[in-house]
């Protein structure tokens, strides 16, 4: 080509103008004609045209920022046949872009959803595209169409959707001040669209007002149908069967059905629930659950624990005259609160009540059924939904009750290893009981512990930690009770109990030693005995069973000298000795003492007090340790029954019961029951929270339970909440919570978080109990890698006394399973088989029924993997066959471990 200069350009330019106006297909002919007269010009133009970059592909079509080496944005990028024009939204699942077709086939704008890459794995890409194609066939005038789905060259999954311009349904209704009937009529369109999707077996799973648009023409358009499922099921399963949950589940807590929040299988009934919430809000302006806070956590808690409030109650004004919200809400519906209430009472209450049932089976079975009832309501015909009858409520109550009993039956196991909770329950209860008596006995100098604390609190208006509060209170005691040694001693015992409950046995010991000295100086044998027995309890709790027994024996010598011994002292001594025997693995001796305490309460008619419950709890604990689970179970059944009859106002005791039950479920491998149980009580603990500031412990246990069954992202949320208040957890539970957090971080692939929590655990290691050290070993197993792994695991387990008596078997079992899993991944099948089969043995012994124990299933799965790895197909077949039922029961059908087991069974044959 001749070099281009001004003159040559002057020749070319007019010709270029001509050819550029021609359609591309006409250009060759045009060039041929030109070539006849001036071949060089034709060549020059041809080569210029050949250099023409496609639209948006030349650097000139973009931003000069490119010259700065800025990272590329997305605008202007192409995905398949679409070019992104600009972002229009961002959500949990990714970002949404306005785009247009770049091959000229379709002029309109589309919305392209770029799914968060973390939500989908490469292996799932094919499936993603296939599912997308199914959804694309979902053709309904009220559903925004999915036009296309694909995965870009760089692995970015995207969905091409009909672009809808309009308002959210709730904003649309409010802006037009639609009255209830108009709102229902509008909502019927939503229901019909959902019904059509359900008929195609497509579940939305994230229905909410921002996914329901109303166009300017008044047409309802549902967005994002089926996308949640697409994303959810596309999530990858790791090679070791763990579920990676970086992106979290695709739903919105405010509108999610309880089963979604709990991670249970989701069906069309979940959509019905979400629709119920939406209609409820449309009609009342309120959320049906009245969460304590409008946060995601608030909705999770509310959904797990409360039933929907009646619609007509939601629009009833409160007595608070300054609350005019109901007036405003009614005005937005062109009505008054009174009129709304009249309108909603009865049929609409029942319809919404049915849509919002916690149990999916009790809701409308189809969106069409829901719509049908609403249409009947509009037509003043009888509706199918009924108010809950007495019988229904009674049955529901019984069902709840039964769950509670099952929980109670296994609660007892928890007490084997630590007996922390029984101890704390005891101290709490005794404090209340004895406080009343001592207050009577002491006359002028009496002051209640609580009064003292309040006075200390009143001294300044600055905030301080609980720790500071206690130390100030102690100072106050020293000062004010200088002349009243008995008062000082009694308060010292109360303080010691608080420190014990806060897991600070050392400080408690110091205080009690002082109390003992005071009692000795007074020469009062009953008080001398009391102080020693309290100290013994502290020693027992710290694991020093022998020295605890020495103290109790010394106390016994004083008791024989005492003229009048109150029962509190006798109980304290039996209690201290009993726990010392438990520590020394002499459960029969312990049980005898605990039974004696129980007998004293029964004789005194104190069977509705906390203290009695505590004594029962201890008795059951000892029975369990003695290998008499049936006996233990019977005691715990009574225990929970009594706790329901009595006014168990003490929150710490309730928490103890909860945690005991949870630990029991864990030990028995009853993961499913455990999770369901805890989900129910978390709301309860929120109430407890405000009273005692102790709920972080339950939250931590809840997190651990969620983690066990694979809902690790939620688990992380709860463990973080629990760790926000380390002071309220107490030192040992802080360690335990960090251990849980480290495990969760590991599962979520968050190495930074894992190392951080592990570091904290290691730093707190000197406070660790055997349990804690075992847990720390678990973390080491998790993070050991490569060739070092088998050796590291063996050393760790051996050094922990693998198989030694007195070890918490549930924990040991968990670590053996983890070790086996890691060894299988590393190809060390021999070791893996050894540990897995040991774990399976422990799990089976500790289960109520082997077919219900998730732990049995998990251990057998690892065993089968190891056997398959060793080439022993027959053994692997047997193991996997046995693993499937407990895995399914414990984890649920969709759980990765279940899928992994099915896959393994497919490969080794049935």
């Amino acid at each position: 080509m001749t070099p281009l200069d001004r003159d040559r350009w002057a020749e070319i330019e007019p010709l270029l103008d001509q050819v550029l106006d021609l359609p591309p297909e006409a250009r060759p002919e045009w060039l041929d004609r030109l070539r006849v007269d001036s071949p060089t010009l034709a060549d020059a133009i041809e080569s210029l045209l050949a250099a023409e970059p496609a639209p948006n592909e030349a650097w000139l079509d973009h931003d000069p920022a490119a010259l700065f080496g800025k990272r590329p944005g997305l605008t202007g990028q192409t995905l398949g046949n679409y070019t992104l024009d600009g972002p229009i939204g961002r959500g949990g699942m990714g970002s949404v872009w306005l785009a247009h077709r770049n091959d000229g086939r379709f002029e309109g704008k589309v919305a392209i959803k770029l799914l968060n890459l973390a939500l989908i794995g490469r292996a799932a890409e094919q499936r993603f595209v296939q599912e997308g194609t199914v959804l694309a066939r979902l053709n309904h005038p009220n559903i925004a169409r999915l036009l296309d789905a694909g995965v870009s060259d760089t692995g970015q999954p995207y969905l091409v959707l009909e672009h809808i311009e309009g308002d959210r349904i709730d904003e649309h209704a409010d802006r037009r001040r639609l009255d209830p009937r108009a709102r229902i009529a509008l909502f019927l369109d939503v229901l019909k669209a959902v019904a059509a999707a359900h008929a195609n077996l497509v579940v939305h799973r994230d229905l909410k007002p921002s996914n329901v648009m109303v166009t300017a023409a008044g047409t309802v358009k549902l967005l994002d149908f089926g996308i949640a499922k697409l994303v959810d099921e596309g999530r990858p399963v790791g090679a070791d069967g763990t579920l990676t949950e970086e992106g979290g589940r695709a739903f919105t807590p405010q509108y999610a059905a309880p089963e979604q929040l709990e991670g249970r299988p989701v069906s069309t009934a979940a959509d019905i629930y979400s629709l119920g919430v939406m209609l409820y809000e449309l009609l009342s302006g309120r959320h049906p659950l009245e969460p304590e806070s409008d946060t995601a956590a608030g909705f999770v808690v509310a959904a797990a624990t409360t039933d929907a409030r009646r619609l007509s109650d939601a629009v009833t004004p409160t007595r608070n005259p300054s609350d005019d919200a109901t007036d405003r809400d009614a005005a937005a519906r062109s009505a008054t609160p009174r009129r709304l209430r009249r309108l909603y009472i009865g049929d609409l209450d029942n319809i919404l009540g049915k849509a919002l049932k916690r149990n999916p089976d009790e809701r409308y079975q189809t969106a069409a059924g829901f719509a049908d009832d609403l249409e009947r309501y509009l037509a003043d015909q009888p509706v199918s939904a009924r108010a809950d009858s007495w019988g229904y409520r009674a049955r529901k109550f019984a069902r709840r009750h039964r769950t509670g009993l099952v929980a109670a039956a296994v609660a007892i196991v928890a007490l084997v290893g630590g007996s922390w909770f029984s101890f704390e329950q005891m101290t709490t209860a005794r404090r209340e009981r004895d406080h009343a008596r001592d207050a009577l006995r002491r006359s002028a100098a009496s002051v209640s512990f609580e009064t003292l604390l309040f006075r200390v609190l009143d001294q300044g208006n600055q905030s301080f930690t609980y720790q500071e509060l206690l130390s100030r209170a102690r100072d106050a005691v020293e000062k004010e009770y200088r002349g009243d040694p008995i008062g000082r001693m009694q308060l010292a015992i109360q303080f010691a109990q608080i420190y014990l409950r806060r897991d600070d046995a050392e400080t408690a010991g110091q205080i009690l030693t002082r109390a003992q000295a005071i009692a000795d100086s007074l020469g009062r044998p009953d008080w001398q005995a009391r102080a020693r027995c309290e100290l013994a309890a502290g020693q027992a709790m710290a694991g020093k069973g022998d020295s605890a027994l020495v103290l109790v024996r010394a106390a016994g010598a004083f008791l024989t000298k005492a003229a009048d011994v109150e029962e509190g002292t006798l109980n304290a001594c039996d209690y201290g000795a009993g726990h010392a025997w438990l520590m020394l693995r002499q459960p029969d001796s312990a049980q005898r003492l605990f039974r004696r305490i129980v007998g004293r309460y029964q004789a005194a008619g104190d069977t509705l007090t906390e203290a009695y419950l505590v004594a029962l709890n201890d008795q059951a604990s000892a029975a369990f340790q003695a290998g008499r689970p049936r006996e233990a179970g019977a005691v715990v059944l009574r225990l929970l029954d009594l706790s329901r009859q009595g006014n168990t106002a003490d929150p710490w005791s309730r928490i103890s019961l909860i945690v005991n039950a949870d630990m029991g479920f864990e030990a028995l491998g009853e993961y499913r029951a455990d999770r369901e149980f805890l989900a129910r009580v978390v709301g309860d603990s929120a109430a407890i929270d405000s009273v005692a500031a102790r709920a972080p412990l339950v939250l931590a246990r809840f997190a651990a339970a969620l983690h066990r069954i694979g809902v690790s992202d939620s688990a992380r949320y709860w463990i973080d909440r629990a760790l926000e208040r380390p002071d309220d957890l107490g030192p040992r539970f802080v360690v335990a919570a960090h251990l849980t957090a480290a495990e969760i971080a590991w599962t979520l692939g968050d190495r930074g978080g894992f190392e951080r929590h592990r570091g904290l655990v290691a730093r707190l290691a000197e406070r660790l109990t055997t349990k804690g050290k075992l847990e720390l070993g678990y973390l080491e197993i998790l993070s050991a890698s490569g060739a070092l792994l088998p050796a590291a695991i063996r050393t760790r387990l051996d050094s922990l006394g693998f198989g030694a008596a007195g070890m918490n078997q549930a924990l040991l079992r968990g670590h053996l399973i983890a070790a086996a899993g890691r060894l299988n991944s590393a190809g060390a099948f021999e070791d893996a088989r050894r540990y897995a089969s040991a774990a399976a043995g422990i799990a089976a012994v500790d289960s109520l029924a082997a077919t219900h124990s998730a732990a049995v299933g998990h251990a057998l799965l690892e065993q089968a993997r190891a056997e398959a790895g060793l080439g022993d197909k027959a053994a692997a077949r047997t193991s996997i066959q046995a693993a499937l039922a407990p895995l399914r029961f414990g984890f649920g059908e969709g759980h990765p471990l279940v899928r992994a087991a099915v896959a393994l069974q497919d490969s080794v044959g049935r």
Binding site: A51, L67, T75
Partner: protein, 185 residues
């Protein structure tokens, strides 16, 4: 910078006086640079500023000093656009030389925020290509300066130049073709 002579310089440059055109460029460049640096300092070294805004402020600043004799916006931009290009290119070079410094970014308003991949390796080629384009067809290189570097839409440029949209669009296609061809040489 002696602004009283701006109008004079402009008419001499219009008449084809290369010395006047050079002086004019320097004066515009200096003014753009001064304003950009001022904004940069005021924002603690981090500045995201649209080129269009910068040009507009420069115009106002210069016109304010020479209100009576100052030319219209279109004529001003015809010269300022090239100064803007140089400014952006110089910042790009400086940024690259410093690796981390020069947090100065000039962005476009509107929807064009994505560069073509690999464009950052082409800076010198592009600078060279634009010079050659200017030698072949100053009108087209000015169009590139206005549209690409200064961020004016083709419709705005059509208004500035008092020609039809279609003409500017066709010119833009030609500029792309020609520049692409010149870069390939």
């Amino acid at each position: 910078m002696s602004n009283p002579t701006f109008a004079t310089l402009l008419s001499r440059a219009d008449a084809g006086d290369p010395a006047a055109a050079g002086q004019l460029f320097e004066s515009l460049y200096g003014e753009l640079h001064r304003l950009a640096e001022y904004q940069l300092r005021r924002n603690g070294g981090r500045l995201t500023l649209s080129a269009t805004t910068l040009l507009h402020e420069t115009y106002l600043a210069m016109a304010g000093r020479d209100a009576a004799a100052f030319p219209d916006r279109g004529r001003f931009l015809a010269y300022a656009a090239k100064a803007m290009r140089s400014l952006i290119v110089d910042y790009a070079r400086a940024r690259r030389a410093l690796k981390r410094g020069g947090e100065f970014e000039i962005t476009q308003i509107g929807d064009r925020d994505a560069p073509a991949p690999g464009a950052n390796d082409q800076l010198e080629r592009i600078v060279d290509g634009l010079e050659r384009l200017g030698a072949v067809d100053p009108k087209l290189s000015e169009l590139v300066d206005l549209h690409f570097f200064c961020g004016f839409s083709l419709v705005e440029i059509a208004e500035l130049r008092a020609v039809s949209d279609r003409t500017v669009q066709r010119d833009w296609r030609k500029a792309r073709l020609l520049l692409e061809g010149l870069l390939d040489d």
